[in-house]
């Protein structure tokens, strides 16, 4: 029983090299560059642009959480509990967007 309790954390056991982090850093810079180019050339209409930018931001944040914050190397229960609770809570906030679209299409009533 004591052996189980004293088992070192998963992330600590994991042998890491620096290379993946450099790749992630470059990928994040490239995605940022894509965002700036898309916006400055006004490739999409505002609402579609917001969707595209937020999509790219979700990809960037997933890379930060997985690699920089090491969640990729944690055990499954930690990943699921943290991410499911976060996504569910944030998704609930989408309820307000229906009203935002109503205002822009129908005006304030």
């Amino acid at each position: 029983m004591h052996d189980v309790a004293l088992k070192p954390p998963v992330a600590a056991v994991h042998e890491e090299s620096r290379t993946p982090y450099y790749f992630v850093w470059v990928a994040l810079l490239v995605l940022t560059g894509i965002e700036v180019v898309l916006t400055y050339n006004q490739v999409f209409a505002p609402v579609r642009m917001l969707e595209v930018l937020m999509g790219l931001s979700v990809i960037k944040s997933a890379m930060i959480i997985a690699y920089f914050m090491h969640l990729k190397f944690e055990i499954a229960s930690m990943k699921w509990v943290l991410m499911v609770s976060l996504v569910v809570c944030l998704t609930l906030m989408f309820v307000f967007f229906a009203d935002a679209f109503r205002i822009i299409h129908l005006g304030v009533r």
């Binding site: 029983m1 088992k7 600590a12 940022t32 914050m69 055990i75 930690m78």
Partner: protein
């Protein structure tokens, strides 16, 4: 019967963690979850205003976008140096850890300076919490902009000080107080940061209390959880940058 009860003095008498890691890290993750809901609410509120207001101001010209992009590069680079610091601390290389943490603090401080410059420029142009010179019928722009970016700037500032405590411990206090004093004396009395810089004094007091109450050499676990906080600050900016700056780009 009392003899049967768990002997708290025996190492490992407790059950193993459900999440397979140490409690400090779980505590930091829980804090970050709650903080992400704070920022989530602010970001959703900003998005709501942005979508539902057709003539939302677009004050950010080329100079502002270049400045904000450099700020983003600073934060992304600081995340890289932070993760390299965490790796160094896991290897037990204290000198390299401190070097990487100082590099992270440098990028973080540069971010704050560039952000303050951006704020000063906008305030000079006439942006106020309840009015702006670009769209008179969208008075909420200033309030939402300052709240969202100000909250983030505060987090970065606290993050830099947090890393300072972990990297330099008590040596960090006189440095922080020096920065506070210089910043206070050098900024004009009419500047918003003449008052805002007192945050550093507050942080210095809290840091001093922590360092006095729990003087210790911070280990790899402490560096790792400081890193979690820092990466979170970077992560939040990944949403603020496109939402606030890129979505309000002034294309000539």
């Amino acid at each position: 019967m009392a003899d049967v009860a768990v002997q708290h003095s025996v190492a490992g008498a407790y059950e193993p963690s459900l999440f397979g890691t140490y409690s400090k890290k779980i505590g930091m993750w829980l804090f970050l979850l709650s903080d992400s809901l704070t920022f989530g609410a602010l970001l959703f509120a900003y998005s709501y205003g942005r979508i539902s207001t057709p003539n939302w101001p677009t004050p950010f010209g080329k100079a502002s976008i270049v400045n904000a992009t450099i700020m983003t590069v600073c934060l992304l680079s600081s995340s890289l140096t932070m993760v390299l610091g965490v790796l160094a601390s896991k290897k037990g290389d204290h000198k390299a850890t401190v070097r990487w943490l100082l590099a992270t603090m440098f990028f973080g401080a540069l971010f704050v300076v560039l952000h303050a410059k951006e704020w000063n420029g906008l305030i000079h142009e006439g942006l106020r919490p309840f009015s702006n010179p670009w769209a008179k019928n969208v008075p909420q722009f200033g309030g939402t902009f300052f709240t969202l970016t100000g909250m983030h700037m505060l987090h970065v500032t606290i993050g830099v000080c947090y890393l300072g405590v972990v990297a330099l411990r008590k040596k960090w206090l006189p440095i922080l107080l020096g920065i506070w004093l210089l910043g206070w004396l050098l900024t004009p009395a009419t500047n918003v940061f003449h008052l805002g810089i007192h945050v550093l004094l507050l942080v210095a007091v809290v840091s001093a209390v922590i360092l006095v109450l729990k003087p210790k050499v911070y280990d790899a676990h402490d560096v790792e959880i400081a890193g979690l906080y820092w990466h979170f600050v970077d992560l939040v900016w990944m949403f603020i940058f496109p939402l606030v700056y890129l979505m309000s780009t002034k294309v000539v």
